[in-house]
């Protein structure tokens, strides 16, 4: 890992400010233990493309709070109730995450899902997170993009011609999730701007994190967007093996058995030195 000091482009062209949606859930009194320094750190959930903060507000946000973690979920610009800016760049998403992280009262744990995991990985190269969790990470690259094009041609093709990407329900959720519920989620998904999707095609391995945070990779071997090989590779780059939840779809936080992965993540955070 090589430290990056010079970021002239980011200095000369700072991301335009935008209103950002941040949902929060505070732990109940009494669930906190010990002194403020030793109490659980804030956890910031970052959704992937197509999703907003709502995807975490469904289950994970409250669950994390009920286990004593001050929990926050944000929407990247252009999604959910966050404002949007013209010609959004990938760097703007990274900026959104570092802005929200730095606004929290204490050094935060960053949890990113899907392409949001790539955003979080790049944010960790700039902001010294307490820890990082990459859930079903979509790190992009030409091969992954081609796979996506084959699996979901109708949703992906328009991006080649300047349009956006639409995700398919069967890729995000397992069959265990009731049809009416997954349909409801499907309707809340937003179109992914073509430029953001195309960034993923070009994307390379993100820079290493600053401040040596521990990093956990979580995913499902049955995820139809992220291959098991990808999970293994991302975890290996961060010095570990992925934590796998077979039988689940891409959206671990919305799928039927959502509680297992979040409990595993919070257990990992509670371990000393995490």
């Amino acid at each position: 890992m090589r430290t990056v000091v010079m970021r002239s482009r980011e200095w000369a062209h700072p991301s335009p400010p935008v209103r950002r949606e941040v949902l929060s859930a505070a732990p109940e009194e009494g669930t906190r233990s010990g002194t403020p320094e030793k109490s659980p750190p804030p956890v910031l959930f970052v959704p992937g493309y197509g999703h907003g903060a709502w995807a975490y507000a469904e289950h994970w946000l409250e669950h994390a709070a009920s286990r004593g973690f001050p929990a926050y979920a944000m929407s990247l610009r252009g999604y959910g109730a966050s404002g949007s800016t013209p010609r959004t760049r990938f760097a703007d998403y990274v900026h959104d995450v570092t802005q929200v992280a730095a606004s929290l009262p204490r050094q935060a744990v960053l949890v990113g899902h899907g392409a949001g995991a790539l955003v979080v990985a790049q944010a960790m190269a700039r902001y010294p997170a307490r820890a990082g969790v990459l859930v079903s990470p979509v790190f992009g690259g030409p091969a992954a993009a081609f796979g996506q094009l084959r699996a979901n041609p109708a949703g992906t093709l328009p991006a080649l011609f300047g349009g956006g990407v639409r995700l398919r329900r069967s890729h995000l959720f397992s069959r265990e999730l009731q049809g009416s519920i997954s349909q409801g989620y499907q309707q809340r998904l937003e179109r992914i701007p073509g430029a953001a999707a195309r960034h993923l095609v070009r994307s390379r391995t993100p820079e290493g994190p600053v401040g040596n945070p521990p990093v956990l990779v979580v995913g499902s071997p049955d995820d139809r967007l992220v291959s098991r090989a990808t999970l293994e590779r991302v975890a290996r780059d961060n010095g570990g093996a992925p934590l796998l939840f077979p039988g689940m779809g891409h959206d671990l936080m919305l799928d039927a058995r959502w509680q297992e992965p979040i409990d595993a993540i919070l257990d990992w955070l509670e371990k000393p030195d995490a």
């Binding site: 002239s8 200095w11 335009p16 320094e37 802005q99 730095a102 050094q107």
Partner: protein, 470 residues
């Protein structure tokens, strides 16, 4: 080295004695002097490398010079930043992006307070405690020398000496006023203030004011005097480039860094700067200001959009250097005599390290320390000075990387002392390198002027060298 050396486990019994006084050994803990912007960055980055840290701060709050409650704070009510946000913030803790381009000093203090809370730094800071003396001590185990730091309550109390593995000095350089000597100043009947004593425009109201010095502070005060005082003279030794805060609708430093990022040659950048100045500000001599006697970038940049504007309104009368003072008068270099009631000396500050023997920082006769990379002492590998730079941009991005480098350097010295010392030798060989391409106009503080791009590139290079060794 030890992880987490909390304050509560201070060794209760001294096992070492120095000159008949007990010395309390703090093991592998690092001492940081000052909890201003530089000190806070040092505490955070040393903690990030898992060092125990004791930080001593003579005041009762963080923020140093930027905390207007502090005795030594030079800020005045209207102080605003002269570098825009992306250059001013710590790179790993961005300022809120809905703040203005050039935040007010009170926001900078709020920012430092949030930084301290966010990273839990306050538990490592001893407030109201002053450092009296810092002396090297031989390590009996033969390791790099350690440091005996004598501290005392800022308002009295018995001194106490602690032994540390390393010392990071971050005591700031904008608190000890530099006052030029003038003939007749002692007999002068009017009021003479150093800019450090200037707090707000009410001090100027209805007065005839002479502002001496064309630094950023001098220009700010001259502009306030134009609005508040009965009369304002602004005395400068030479002509300067008064850069506006905005060019092409964007903060001027962001435009400038775009040129630097392209690695355009200095001559071309100077030409572009002149063109931009011509289009935005125009010919300064038309306003009665002296023409700049140097090329752009050769002195510390002055960023003030309002000075020329108020000169144009007649609110500020530019005058040459002060020659001498008389009982009620001030004689100028061109022979003119003016009669101000209030003289404000915006003549700058000098760095001071009264707790360190000068030879430890290899201070020369002119009072300037000779440091490797403008931050590491040449005498001992475990002594460093953070924030002793005068960049053509903000200091905090620089100080962040300086302190990251110090922390990584001390970590390398701990884990691989032989390779660390080999690197130390090559760094020493770098000599008195200046981190700027231009030949600067000489002045007592321009020796620590650096170009932020040149300097940050040098820090990045050294960080990579340390990473390669680790």
């Amino acid at each position: 080295m030890a992880d987490d050396s909390g304050q509560d486990d201070l060794a209760p019994v001294a096992t070492i004695w120095r000159n008949g006084e007990p010395v309390y050994d703090r093991g592998d803990t690092v001492c940081v002097i000052g909890a201003g912007g530089s000190g806070l960055a040092a505490v955070k980055n040393l903690r990030e490398q898992r060092f125990g840290v004791d930080c001593y701060e003579r005041e009762t709050g963080v923020g140093g010079a930027w905390n207007w409650r502090h005795d030594r704070s030079p800020v005045y009510a209207s102080t605003h930043l002269i570098s825009s946000r992306p250059f001013t913030q710590f790179p790993d803790f961005p300022m809120p992006d809905d703040w203005p381009d050039y935040p007010h000093h009170s926001r900078l203090l709020a920012y430092f307070e949030r930084y301290a809370d966010h990273f839990g730094l306050r538990e490592h800071i001893w407030f109201g405690t002053e450092v009296v003396r810092v002396e090297p001590a031989e390590d009996p185990a033969g390791g790099p020398p350690r440091w005996d730091v004598t501290i005392r309550g800022a308002r009295g109390g018995a001194p106490r000496t602690m032994r540390y593995a390393a010392v990071v000095v971050a005591n700031g350089h904008n608190w000890s006023p530099k006052l030029p000597r003038y003939d007749g100043l002692d007999d002068y009947r009017g009021t003479v203030l150093h800019a450090g004593q200037y707090k707000d425009g009410t001090q100027l109201r209805g007065k005839k004011v002479l502002v001496v010095g064309a630094g950023n502070t001098g220009c700010d005060i001259a502009v306030e005097a134009a609005q508040q005082a009965a009369k304002c003279w602004h005395s400068t030794r030479r002509g300067y480039w008064y850069a506006p805060k905005y060019a092409l609708g964007r903060p001027v430093d962001q435009v400038n860094d775009q040129l630097l990022a392209l690695r355009l040659p200095l001559k071309l950048r100077q030409w572009i700067f002149k063109r931009t100045m011509k289009l935005t500000v125009g010919d300064l001599t038309r306003f009665g200001l002296p023409a700049p006697d140097h090329r752009p970038y050769e002195t510390h940049p002055i960023v003030n959009s309002q000075l020329v504007y108020y000169v144009g309104h007649g609110g500020i009368e530019p005058v040459p250097d002060v020659k001498r003072f008389d009982r009620n008068e001030v004689e100028l270099a061109d022979g003119h005599v003016i009669e101000p009631d209030l003289v404000i000396m915006a003549t700058g500050y000098l760095p001071r390290f009264e707790f360190l023997a000068p030879e430890l920082l290899a201070v020369d006769q002119e009072g300037r320390p000779r440091l490797t990379l403008q931050m590491l002492a040449r005498t001992y590998p475990t002594l460093a000075v953070a924030g002793l730079v005068q960049p053509d941009s903000s200091i905090f991005t620089i100080v962040h990387w300086q302190t990251v480098l110090m922390a990584r350097w001390l970590r390398l010295l701990d884990t691989a002392p032989e390779r660390a010392m080999a690197l130390w030798k090559t760094m020493q060989a770098d000599g008195d390198r200046r981190f700027t391409q231009v030949k600067l106009k000489d002045s007592t503080r321009h020796w620590f002027e650096v170009s932020h791009v040149d300097y940050l590139r040098a820090l990045e290079h050294t960080l990579h060298e340390i990473e390669a060794e680790a």
